[in-house]
């Protein structure tokens, strides 16, 4: 079967046609199934994305043909595995437009990346009375590591407030930055509201006061072309599994000079140059932060996922997903009794909503019975729920393999919810 990239060169594709999407859907075995007797409509992409056969096969082929441990042995398999593993580091470097491949550290995911920065970078530098600035729309994974550190060091966690539309209030952000601020940790895209934050501008503002910025890219990188040098952020973290890659693997990007100045997070094999009982000399970056045998097959899968997305074209994916979101927003907003949370100017792929008189969990169960998978709950962003004074929302989140017909099914499903509770 011909791959999509052979049909049309990615750079010539501005968006995806329905024929493109039909071919793409053929790559995702899971999408062919029925759930509760209906064709599966998968709208929980912000939680995790589905995997194309190219990724599934790459992992299976690696285990069948090239598998071995990396960085140690002289035998052929180990060399092959090491080469494949390190090739993905270069792939990730190019994908996020980092200056050097040693600026890419493989981690389990965004959460581990954030924790690595918390322990390796901030912990030795944070003093009592210092401040860490996060935004009001963070996922718990970009709140709790900082909060734990603040508790330990008697430092203060401060929060950039959100407007009623779900946008960060930048005047407040500027006001909150002060000489005690040691780090800004902010998400590129909100998982609960879909807001795309003006990262470049926020970094510029922080850098004026010499405050480094960590960008949580978990929700950003699946939808937007990422250029860490253009953003000028100091750290960028993301998970492979939201990017059509496997679970358990992600990456931390850090500017080389910052990574160089950081202590290791975990001790063990592979992160050392030499060990005696008196003294251990640490390996250079990025290996200093990769103690133990990593998820080698996960890295191979991540590489295949990046290849796959690039064969379609990130810009085309972004443009098509924007069309889906606009269509879904228009159609869902038309249903009386539905309230959409998150109406920022710039949004990506997330439609969070409530239905008058119906708890989101009931919406989730009824839609599931119609074959539609959405998320209902607080989306690991309880402060966002509190800000909008709701216990939970229903969230439909889209990927490039979704279609307008599926959005029509969602709209019909919401109408069915209202019939049941009518």
């Amino acid at each position: 079967m011909k791959g999509l990239s052979e049909v049309l060169a990615p750079e010539t594709r501005k968006t995806l046609s329905s024929a493109d999407v039909a071919r793409i859907r053929e790559d995702f075995p899971i999408l062919k199934q029925q759930v509760c007797g209906r064709p599966l409509v998968y709208f929980d992409n912000a939680a995790t994305s589905q995997k194309p056969r190219q990724v599934i096969e790459a992992i299976s082929r690696f285990y069948a043909e090239d598998y071995s441990n990396i960085h140690r042995a002289v035998h052929t398999l180990s060399q092959r595995a090491t080469q494949a593993f390190e090739a993905v580091r270069v792939k990730v470097q190019r994908f996020v437009h980092a200056a050097e491949d040693r600026e890419i550290v493989f981690v389990r995911g965004t959460t581990e990346g954030n924790n690595l920065v918390a322990h390796g970078y901030l912990r030795p530098r944070l003093q009592a009375g210092d401040e860490i600035l996060v935004s009001g729309m963070e996922h718990h994974s970009n709140i709790v590591p900082w909060q734990m550190l603040c508790g330990e060091k008697n430092a203060r966690l401060r929060v950039i407030p959100i407007s009623d539309d779900g946008e960060l209030i930048l005047e407040e952000y500027e006001r909150l930055l002060n000489p005690r601020t040691r780090l800004v940790a902010v998400t590129q895209v909100s998982n609960a509201l879909g807001t795309i934050n003006p990262i470049r501008r926020m970094v510029e503002i922080a850098h004026r006061q010499r405050v480094p910025v960590l960008v949580d890219g978990a929700q950003g990188i699946p939808h937007l072309a990422v250029d860490v040098q253009a953003l000028d952020c100091d750290f960028y973290t993301f998970s492979g599994h939201k990017l059509c890659g496997p679970t358990g693997i992600g990456a931390l990007y850090g500017k080389a000079n910052l990574l160089e100045a950081m202590s290791p997070f975990q001790g063990g094999g592979d992160m050392i140059v030499s060990v005696t009982f008196e003294k251990t000399t640490y390996n250079k970056i990025p290996h200093r932060f990769e103690a133990g045998t990593p998820d080698i097959a996960g890295v191979i899968g991540l590489g295949a996922a990046i290849d796959y997305l690039q064969s379609i074209g990130i810009e085309a994916i972004n443009a098509y997903e924007e069309e889906l979101l606009a269509y879904a927003t228009q159609e869902v907003a038309r249903i009386p009794g539905v309230r959409i949370l998150g109406t920022a100017q710039a949004k990506a792929s997330v439609l969070s909503f409530t239905v008058d008189g119906v708890h989101p969990h009931d919406i989730g169960t009824i839609l599931d019975q119609l074959g539609i998978a959405i998320r209902a709950g607080h989306h690991c962003a309880q402060p966002v729920m509190d800000r909008f004074n709701v216990p939970a929302t229903a969230r439909a989140s889209f990927a490039f393999y979704n279609t307008k017909e599926e959005i029509d099914a969602l709209v019909q499903g919401i109408r069915r919810v209202m019939e049941v509770f009518g």
């Binding site: 008189g357 169960t365 009824i366 019975q369 216990p391 939970a392 509770f421």
Partner: protein
């Protein structure tokens, strides 16, 4: 496909829309908080237990249709029961929702109209919604200080 009507029966929807015994109980001598982090259900159960008998039971909080209806019907069904009877009823209710399909619930007739919740069994992630109020009632009876969590 399990029919939605098995889950959202008329009686359940009626209790969701018009919960009975809703609001704080001023002279409660037992109370406990319950929380289902999965869907954000939070409720408080208030009991007036004198001489081992549940004289009054009320609840307040917010939750999904199943948890609200279950709390509402629970308060109705335990009023006038002894502590032991209320606990046995909880056991039967729990059994109805969690026992394997081929196992018959003992003394199912004691459950009365609570059998409308039997459909919840087909929706395993929702069982916690239906049992939250009952777990909370149980904690209130035992004067447990820690809030009940379904996780």
């Amino acid at each position: 496909m399990s029919d939605l009507r098995d889950l959202y029966q008329e009686l359940i929807l009626d209790h969701t829309k018009h919960p009975r015994n809703f609001g704080a109980l001023e002279n409660a001598n037992c109370r406990a908080d319950g929380h289902n982090p999965l869907c954000g259900d939070k409720l408080t159960v208030f009991l007036d237990v004198s001489n081992g008998v549940v004289k009054d039971a009320r609840f307040q909080g917010s939750g999904c249709a199943i948890s609200t209806a279950s709390a509402s019907m629970m308060t109705e069904s335990i009023k006038g029961k002894t502590r032991a009877e209320a606990e046995t009823l909880f056991e039967r209710f729990h059994q109805m929702l969690t026992s394997p399909p081929d196992v018959e619930v003992q003394d199912a007739e004691e459950l009365g109209k609570l059998v409308v919740f039997s459909g919840v069994k087909e929706f395993p992630v929702r069982v916690k919604c239906a049992t939250l109020a009952w777990h909370t009632m149980n904690a209130a009876m035992r004067h447990e200080a820690e809030p009940v969590s379904t996780e």
